[in-house]
């Protein structure tokens, strides 16, 4: 225990420094005078790891920097930031894609693990679409978690959007069936379906999700037009497993990255984009309804590798 106490204090101190270092950008580290050596590469690798890019990706990027140094295109430490920005932007090129909401009604399926922010994101998206003059419906297909329906209903009242729902514990497939029918009948522009949070390792719950998708497809060929996995920025490497398994189970059209207003950078999406080719469609940067935004690689990379 004495070891832990002492070490904890040291580590805390170190982390405080690391935060300042992250916050102040790479400026201090990338002093133009600083020699390009192993210590520098290590620090850069750690910077990327600290942003949840993962050890493999961080190692790849660092190795590419080594190659550039070998070819003589990298000679000063302050060239590393633009280099890393370029690596990241190359990787994320094509990751920013618009939502496909041309169909009338467009059906958007929100899914993800527990507590990632599905309900809030669904409500914010509904508010945004309504704000642009669309007729939107929400479907409360999380019939499992206590008061999940009420939560979406409160949101519906708040943003002025009708919520299709049934009693708690009812079959989510039935809710979805009703909702798609209602959306078509009322000539809605969009239907946003909020599903129950589920861990991607629970086969029965993944089957349930696949069934929801089938019900939608059968009723409306071509739907759902968007299947968005909601992922929160503090998530680490497990986010990749989540994306992979949700993608395998129902085919994702994009990721909605939430809770970017904290200190986590959400770097795991870089790996998701790179290895799974799933675009990032939305980001959540705050609790307000207006804090749901479209993904912009430039801004995201600036946050990952802080600017000048």
């Amino acid at each position: 225990m004495t070891f832990l106490a002492g070490l904890g204090a040291r580590l805390r101190e170190g982390l405080r420094r690391s935060q300042e270092y992250l916050a102040s950008g790479l400026g201090a580290v990338l002093d133009p005078e600083r020699p390009i050596d192993e210590a520098l590469y290590t620090e850069l690798e750690e910077l990327l790891i600290a942003a949840d890019l993962g050890a493999t990706l961080a190692g790849d990027f660092t190795n590419r920097a080594r190659e550039e140094a070998m070819f003589g295109t990298l000679t000063r430490a302050n060239q590393l930031r633009p280099l890393f920005r370029r690596f990241l932007l190359d990787t994320l090129a094509g990751a920013a894609q618009p939502l496909h909401l041309d169909h009338r009604p467009a059906v958007v399926l929100m899914l993800g693990v527990n507590g990632s922010g599905k309900t809030t994101t669904a409500a914010k998206l509904a508010a945004a679409l309504k704000g642009s003059g669309k007729h939107v419906l929400l479907a409360a297909a999380d019939t499992f978690r206590a008061a999940a329906i009420e939560q979406l209903q409160r949101w519906g009242e708040r943003v002025g959007v009708e919520v299709i729902h049934q009693a708690a514990g009812s079959d989510p497939a039935a809710v979805v069936f009703d909702a798609v029918k209602a959306a078509a009948a009322r000539g809605a522009d969009a239907l946003i379906v909020d599903t129950a949070g589920r861990l991607h390792t629970k086969t029965n719950l993944m089957d349930e999700l696949a069934k929801l998708k089938r019900v939608i497809e059968r009723q409306m060929p071509g739907a759902p037009h968007e299947s968005l996995m909601v992922l929160d920025a503090p998530t680490g490497q497990n986010g990749f497993a989540q994306a992979r398994m949700f993608h395998e189970a129902i085919g994702l059209t994009g990721v909605a990255l939430t809770k970017l207003d904290g200190t986590a950078k959400g770097g795991i999406v870089v790996r998701i984009v790179r290895e799974l080719k799933i675009p990032i469609k939305l980001i959540g940067v705050g609790e307000g309804v207006e804090d749901l935004q479209l993904f912009e690689p430039e801004a995201f990379v600036d946050a990952l590798v802080p600017g000048e």
Partner: protein
Amino acid sequence: MLDALSTRLQTIFDRLGGRGRLTEENVQEALREVRLALLEADVNFKVVKTFIDRVKARAVGQDVLASLTPGHQVVKVVHDELTALLGGSGHKLAPASHPPTVIMLIGLQGSGKTTTAAKLARMYRTQGQHPLLAAADTYRPAAQDQLRTLGEGLGIPVIGAAGQSPLAICREAREAAATRGLTPLILDTAGRLHIDEAMLEELRAIRREVAPHHVLLVLDAMTGQDAVTVADRFNQAVGIDAVALTKLDGDSRGGAALSVRHVTGRPIAFVGTGEKTDALEPFHPDRLAARILGMGDVLSLVEKAQATVDQEKAEELVRKLREDAFTLEDFREQLKQVRQLGPLDQILGMLPFGKMLKGAPKDLADESADLGRFDAIIASMTPGERRHPEVINGSRRQRIARGSGTSVQDVNRLLKQYAQLKKMMKQFKGMEGKLPRMKNLPGFPTLRG
């Protein structure tokens, strides 16, 4: 729980397991892989660094270099250090001398506070107590409804109405718990960011005025590198006494647990392992560490083996295997040592070449009873037969079976397994030569000199 990391480290150490004597270079290489595995497991990189340095200092030490199965020895060192880092023993929330015991849950949005509150209440009720829940999350729509629904389902009272301030709800709940004789009181607060000063001040106010005995940080097991920042800030701003780690029923490797424990020094008290209210378990650091390493019982077997396996005999055996001089007598000696250890399938994993055997002579693994029979069969052979089993023809088999009280089929099975083992050894030897990079890998402890 943390199977992914277990598998990863197991692979690393299986490779290491074949290396016989560990040099500093070997250890370095293994630890590089351990580092990667821990980073993949979301352990914060600073914590990883400190951890690796400590393990290295111990792993390069004499006890590892001198041991028969250094790979396992390294695992043991890693395991010990992991256990130490995770906390010495299971942590219990001490009841207050003057009830109610007040437990306050804090954390980020979506970490699982409300569900954990209900799970805790249920756990304490199962232990014969009469808990009270306070729904102090007035921000998230229907959060109070959620706790009330959970409370109703469990038959546990819930305090807190819409329109009240979180502080007022907590105060009222504390009074209600005292007058109604309910304990513990569990405060479910709203999720908030660890950098939201106004919201942190609200928690400090509750802490000041309601004086909880235990402040629990509820942390999602899937959290990445940021876990240290989250835990540190909450600890600095509000103060935390313990951690509840949620959503461990997925495949997240849960490295965040190591990070948080390390950076705050606070113990992990509970783990959440499912969506239902009964899915809460006390945290066992030793089990978690063993699980991270995928070692389980094998660890104790390492200790057992050190006590029972005669190192000289083992090295002699290895030499014979290399020289293809492995006789039935050696086989018998091997079986004898194995019998002293316990269940075969577990032991196979820790024998120098055990991993390779696993699944191969399957009969050997699931027929421990055969060991006694095999011993009797070999005892009924002549010394010549033991050294040159190829002379054992049909009539000799009948004689041996009669002499040992077994059947000819048993004798055949023994001979078949012996032949399989010998063949496998030959294959490994072949591999050693063919694949330079796998040299020393798959089976044999390489004898020095």
